[in-house]
Each structure stands twice: as structure tokens, then as C-alpha cells.
């Protein structure tokens, strides 16, 4: 009879210790979201530092304000929605930083705060927070700001009062309005080394490239997206240049100016709004690159990167349906 059986008495030497019972696996690769955010910010530093060097304290002010308000908006939303505080994962800070890198150094304070509000609240939190946003929050914010306050993104006008040791002329705008001849007046090598005006952290090609390579090697971004994005830009610009060399700037010029590099390495690769399967990543990146040059060359906007990324974010869910057949799948 089961009821009559007395349980075995514990031998006195054994002290009952509380063990944690959890499900397998008991190991972890050690990667964390925080790590991803901070390393992406680290990779952005070289480009950002040159921006600080060129534009001085106003640039530092914009970046600090953007990062701090982005964190603040996230905190406020966390409190308002009574969800756990998520500012520790560094994602809000990263959004603020990347956003500031796209802005001119003379951006007024209210515009910076508005931009971070759009990025964090409208771009990310109303979808449900990290991982749920359909569009890149930074791209959403910049796109809305570009439409609402067009003059704030006119780099020639915004950076008029700077006296730098290179032409204070926004190359991509010059090429768009005055044709290839204007593009030829810029030395590509100097542009690559950051001798151009533009967003605080978007002009230093070498710095962005170093950051991008670091992120790709560490696996924080998916190299397929970045490289096909650049390839898409290059090939499309090449075709345009071939068709009408006088009107359309050469492909290398498109690679190094505007938001191309920061877009390829930091914006198009945003986790939540980009695909994860191999072929979709290639299509996504390539499509983004093609759209960028299409908007630049035949659209009304000076720079097409932001809008192109938003368009490919839109097709991302559809693209990610192209996936390999699972093991043993019965069709």
C-alpha cells in the first residue's frame, strides 16, 4: 500500500541545498543585445570623431542632446506603458547616436528633440519596442524631418558659416544640381578622408568603412546586406553614368557621398527591419542600393538613402518568406 510507505529519512550528513532547475541548454555563446548596441556605437566612433573635429562643440552638443533625449523618450515610454525599463540595452542610445550622425552640426535643439521623439516613440516604441519595428527608427525620423523641415537638411545652407579647409559645398547636392562636372571638382580621395560637408558622422568614408568592417567581422551586422547595398549603388550609378556621363556622377562618387556608407553599414542593417535569410538579404541590400541611386538621379530628393531604406524595410517581410526548406519537411 502506497499510503503506508514511509518516506526514506534523509541521512543526517546531507544538507538539503536549493538547486536551480532550468531547461537545456545550460551554455550560452555570451552574446547580448547590450554588446551589440555598444559595439555598434564603438564602430561609429571614428566617423563621429572627425565630425567633432570639423564642426567643434555644436556637433558635440547635437550628439549629446540626441543620445540623451533618445534615452529619455524611451524611459518615458517605458514608464507610461508600465513595462520594464529597457534603456539599459543601449538600443535607444544607439538610435540617438546614429540619428545625430545624419544631422548637420547646426541643427537647432528643438529639431533634435523632435527627431529623437519621432525615432524612439513613433519609429520604435509604438510598434512594441525593440525587435518589433517594421521600419528603421532612424530612417523614419530623418524622413519625416526631411519632409517637414526641408531647410534643416540643406547642408549647404546649414553649414554656411563654417570656415573649413575644404569647399563647404555638399557634394551630392552639387552633383545633382550642376551635373558631373561639379562632381569632378571633388577629389574622391579627399572625400573618402572626410573632406566634405554633410551630416556630423556621415562624411568620413574611411572611418565608416573601418567601423563597417569591424561590425561585419564581429557578426554584429550581416555582411550580405551591406555589401549588396554598396554593390547596388555602384552598379546602378555605373549604368546611369554610362548612359549620360555629363549628367550623372560616376559610381565611386555615389559610394562616398551623402549617406551611402553610413546607410550601408549602420542603417540598412538594423536587425528588426531587415531580413535574416541568405537570398532575401542579398535582394534586400541590392534593392536598397538600386533605389538609392534611382532616387538620387531621377527623383526630387538630393539623397535617396533614407527613403530607399524605408522602401526596402517595406518589402522585408515579403522577402524573408524566401527561405530554405527545413530538414525533413513534408510538403
Amino acid at each position: 500500500m502506497l499510503e503506508k510507505i514511509k518516506p526514506v529519512e534523509q541521512p543526517p550528513t546531507l544538507i538539503q541545498k536549493k538547486l536551480i532547475v532550468s531547461h537545456a541548454p545550460f551554455l550560452h555563446s555570451g552574446r547580448r543585445i547590450t554588446e551589440r548596441s555598444y559595439h555598434t556605437m564603438l564602430a561609429a566612433l571614428p566617423a563621429l570623431l572627425l565630425g567633432f573635429y570639423h564642426y567643434g562643440m555644436p556637433a558635440v552638443g547635437v550628439v549629446c542632446l540626441a543620445v540623451s533625449t533618445a534615452i529619455l523618450w524611451e524611459l518615458l515610454i517605458n514608464l507610461a506603458t508600465r513595462r520594464s525599463i529597457t534603456i539599459g540595452d543601449g538600443n535607444a542610445a544607439l538610435i540617438g547616436l546614429l540619428l545625430a550622425m545624419l544631422l548637420p552640426a547646426t541643427m537647432p535643439w528643438w529639431a533634435v528633440i523632435t527627431a529623437t521623439f519621432i525615432a524612439v516613440v513613433i519609429g520604435k516604441q509604438i510598434y512594441g519596442g525593440i525587435g518589433s519595428n517594421a521600419f528603421n527608427p532612424v530612417a523614419v525620423a530623418v524622413a519625416i524631418m526631411m519632409v517637414a523641415w526641408k531647410d534643416l537638411f540643406n547642408f549647404d545652407g546649414m553649414l554656411l558659416n563654417y570656415n573649413l579647409d575644404f569647399a563647404t559645398l555638399y557634394p551630392i547636392a552639387a552633383a545633382k544640381h550642376f551635373g558631373s562636372a561639379s562632381a569632378a571638382s571633388f577629389s574622391l580621395w579627399k572625400i573618402f578622408l572626410g573632406q566634405q560637408i554633410g551630416g556630423i558622422g556621415a562624411t568620413f568614408g574611411l572611418g565608416l568603412l573601418i567601423g563597417g568592417i569591424y561590425l561585419m567581422l564581429r557578426g554584429f551586422i550581416r555582411w550580405e546586406i551591406s555589401l549588396t547595398f554598396l554593390a547596388g549603388v555602384y552598379l546602378t550609378a555605373f549604368v546611369f553614368n554610362l548612359a549620360n556621363p555629363a549628367r550623372f556622377a560616376p559610381p565611386a562618387f555615389h559610394l562616398l557621398t551623402g549617406y551611402t556608407l553610413i546607410g550601408a553599414f549602420f542603417l540598412a542593417t538594423e536587425d528588426s527591419s531587415s531580413p535574416v535569410n541568405y537570398i532575401p538579404m542579398l535582394i534586400y541590400g541590392g534593392f536598397g542600393g538600386i533605389m538609392t541611386v534611382l532616387i538620387r538621379n531621377i527623383g526630387v530628393w538630393v539623397d535617396g538613402v533614407i527613403l530607399a531604406i524605408l522602401v526596402c524595410n517595406l518589402i522585408n517581410p515579403l522577402l524573408d518568406k524566401i527561405r530554405p526548406q527545413a530538414l525533413g519537411k513534408v510538403v
Partner: protein
């Protein structure tokens, strides 16, 4: 332990344990004062009074609580039954824990020896079901299409565990005998021995085809072995047995060989003990030895909130009490410090795609986990390949959000299985 890679382009490499060329003898400790055996419990049955407290048992004696059921355990010691108590294991499985106080003199039961001259499946399954390594006799007996191939795992499926690798390399004579007996009693002639890397040499005329697999996890998991070695794809929701393949641990085969060689039922388990500092050793201990006793003998202290894991770090299970005995299938005991064990979080999936790229079954884990988190198990099974999962746990291993994906998958399968039962009853 495993370090994370600096370069993240490549897949995580979980290398299998590599044994030294000169194999050390397993460390033995003196027998504990009492051992505990877990006898499967049947809720509808009363306990027979014959196996009450005070009943004397011999080493190798078969103890069966239910007269009309096939469940039994083999006593690894000579002594008297000191207690019977209900015990709950993983997934709500219930047992009767039989505690035997070890007596002074050892005497051997000769029930097996009397019948061993004529080896049959019947004999093997009625004496060797609880042999070290847990031979899967019931799989052999109940397979619908019949087993045509037996795969002997000379390599443990999990990293950090080296038990079967050790046994396969050090107990060649018994392994050979075991393969011979297996062929004789099952009639299966196609027997494959799986080893790691280039260690195909040294097995000589073992009586089985020796094949090597890659030295990284999860290449020794059954589904991957089926695909890479046998060239067969196990369809989603099916098992290896459905394709006529049965997996034996090397230790199980060695137990069979040893039993028929010596006439005594093997009752000591070889296992890998991984300490908190990451060092591991091969030890040998009677089945039923409480974990606390083993850890004490090997100078390992367990603190509050540490984890003690039976089986490998990727697929094993954590035990809740240090009194838990060593079972016939306990290939390893891993002690994990509370700070070192992986923790999980309720963070959402950020869609980084690590899991998708790591998954050996090519499941869209990023989509699957969204359905599983929302308890939409049927949707997950229909649209996102839940049943293709080979349960390697690599998705949880790489997840940056630390979502317990593997646990979600197991839960989903369990819930779907549970939902089937009332449906079948209605039909």
C-alpha cells in the same frame, strides 16, 4: 568551458571532448552506504508486499515491483531494502525510489548466468534493460517496420561529455563481444559504429562498419548522423526508428558484451564528471549512487542556486535534489556555478538572425519563436517547421535576447502531443 568567438562571421564551434591517446583508468570511489534505484511507477498498481523494507537483495538481482509488468531494476549491491518512496522525475514521470542499504559481504545473483547460454532478445530485455548505457530493447521489440540498422554511438552527442567515446576506445573486447551478441539476438547485420574525426583506425575487426563524423556539435545527434552517415533524411515528425534505425550507446553494447562474457550483470556506470572549474574526469560508480556522495568524494562543493546537470550541457536536464541517484543513462554529471550557467530573459526577439543561420535543420527560428511565445503551437507546426526541429538547443545557445527557444519548442511539442489525446478519445 567554451569561449565566445571574437569573429562572429563563422558559426559557433562547440567541439566535442577529445580524449588523450593514453586513456586513464576511470576513477573509482568506495561504494556508498546506501544506493537508490528508480523503478518506474504505475499509478494503477498496488505495491506487492514481498519487496518491503528489510528484504534482502543480492548484487545483480532483478527487483520488480509489479508482477504483471515488465518494469524492473537490477540491484548493483548486496544489502537490504531500507525504504520505498514515490519520486517524480522530468516531465512528470513518476518512480518508486528503492533505497538499498549496502551490506558488508557481497554475493551475486545467478539468475542471468543460468540462462545466458542461449542468448535471445527475450533474455536480453528481461535482464539487460537497466544495464549501464540503457540498451533500447523496447525500441527493437516494438518497431513497426523492423529495425534494419543499428548505430552504435562511440561519440557522445553532447560536447563536454566523453563517456561513450571513452568506453568505445577502452573496452574494445567487450564491445566486440557485444556487437556479436547483438547481431545474434536481433538478426540485424548492418551495424555501424560512429566515432569522432579521424579515429577510425584502431577498431580492427570489430564486427561493425566504423564511420567517423565531424568533431563539432551537433554532428553526433541522431538526425544529423542519419543525414550525414546514412544518407537518410528523417521526415518531420518521424523518428529514426520509423526508418529502421536504432541507436545504441557504446556503453550499452559493452554492457551486453560484458554480461555475456562474465555471466554477471554489469552494474557500474562510467560517466564524465565536469566540475565547476571546467575540468572533467571519467569516473566509475555503481548505478544508484546519490550525486551528493559522488561530488563529496571528488571534492566538489555545491552551493545554493548552483545547477547540477544530468547529461550534456546542450540537451541534458538539471536535477532538483542532490539525492538524485545515478541512472543507467546518466552519461555525465555537470556542476555549473550559479554565475556561469546561462540565464534566460523575457526580452523579445530582435530578429538578429543568429538562430536562423545556426540551425542545422534550417528552421526559420525567428518566426517560429514569435508563434511559440504567443502559444500558437498549431500555426508554428503548420507554417514554421516546428516538427523539423532536431532538438540540438543551438538556437538558445546563440540567442542574443536569451529567449529560451529550445524550451519553447519542447513545450510546444509537449502541448501538441497532449492535445492529441482527447481528440483521439473523441474519434
Amino acid at each position: 568551458m567554451f569561449k565566445k568567438l571574437f569573429v562572429g562571421l563563422t558559426h559557433p564551434r562547440l567541439e566535442y571532448e577529445k580524449l588523450p591517446v593514453r586513456l586513464p583508468e576511470p576513477e573509482r570511489i568506495s561504494a556508498p552506504k546506501s544506493i537508490t534505484l528508480l523503478h518506474p511507477k504505475n499509478e494503477n498498481h498496488r505495491l506487492p508486499s514481498m519487496l518491503g523494507i528489510g528484504y534482502r537483495v543480492k548484487t545483480g538481482q532483478k527487483l520488480s515491483l509489479y508482477a504483471d509488468q515488465n518494469f524492473y531494476v537490477i540491484s548493483p549491491v548486496t544489502g537490504t531494502i531500507a525504504g520505498l518512496s514515490p519520486y517524480t522525475g522530468n516531465f512528470g514521470k513518476t518512480y518508486i525510489a528503492i533505497t538499498i542499504a549496502v551490506g558488508r559481504d557481497e554475493s551475486f545473483d545467478d539468475g542471468f548466468q543460468q540462462q545466458m547460454q542461449n542468448p535471445t532478445m527475450q533474455l536480453a530485455s528481461s535482464f539487460l534493460a537497466c544495464a549501464p548505457g540503457n540498451p533500447p530493447w523496447s525500441v527493437l521489440a516494438h518497431s513497426e517496420n523492423g529495425i534494419k540498422t543499428i548505430v552504435i554511438r562511440g561519440l557522445d552527442p553532447d560536447p563536454m561529455v566523453a563517456t561513450n567515446q571513452y568506453v568505445a576506445q577502452s573496452r574494445l573486447k567487450d564491445l566486440k563481444k557485444g556487437i556479436h551478441i547483438l547481431k545474434e539476438i536481433t538478426g540485424v547485420q548492418n551495424i555501424i559504429l560512429i566515432t569522432a574525426g579521424e579515429s577510425v583506425q584502431g577498431y580492427g575487426h570489430i564486427g561493425a562498419l566504423v564511420k567517423s563524423v565531424k568533431t563539432t556539435y551537433p554532428s553526433a545527434l541522431p538526425h544529423i548522423v542519419m543525414k550525414e552517415v546514412l544518407g537518410q533524411i528523417v521526415l518531420a515528425g518521424k523518428t529514426c526508428e520509423d526508418l529502421g534505425v536504432c541507436f545504441f550507446n557504446a556503453e550499452a553494447v559493452v554492457s551486453v558484451g560484458k554480461a555475456f562474457e562474465s555471466g554477471q550483470l554489469p552494474t557500474t556506470k562510467i560517466l564524465t564528471l565536469v566540475k565547476k572549474d571546467g575540468t572533467s574526469k571519467i569516473i566509475e560508480t555503481p548505478i544508484g549512487t546519490p550525486v551528493a556522495y559522488i561530488l563529496e568524494a571528488h571534492g566538489e562543493t555545491v552551493n545554493e542556486y548552483d545547477r547540477v546537470i544530468f547529461g550534456g550541457p546542450m540537451t541534458g536536464s538539471a536535477i532538483y535534489a542532490l539525492e538524485h541517484p545515478v541512472e543507467p543513462d546518466t552519461d555525465s554529471i555537470i556542476v555549473l556555478d550559479r554565475d556561469k550557467a546561462a540565464y534566460v530573459s523575457d526580452y523579445p526577439c530582435i530578429n538578429c538572425g543568429e538562430c536562423v543561420r545556426t540551425c542545422p535543420a534550417k528552421i526559420p527560428v525567428n518566426m517560429l519563436v514569435r508563434y511559440l511565445e504567443a502559444s500558437q503551437y498549431e500555426n508554428a507546426a503548420d507554417n514554421y517547421d516546428l516538427y523539423s526541429c532536431i532538438e540540438c538547443g543551438l538556437c538558445s545557445y546563440v540567442c542574443v535576447s536569451r529567449i529560451p527557444i529550445f524550451q519553447y519548442i519542447k513545450l510546444a511539442k509537449y502541448e501538441l502531443e497532449r492535445a492529441k489525446i482527447p481528440e483521439a478519445a473523441d474519434a
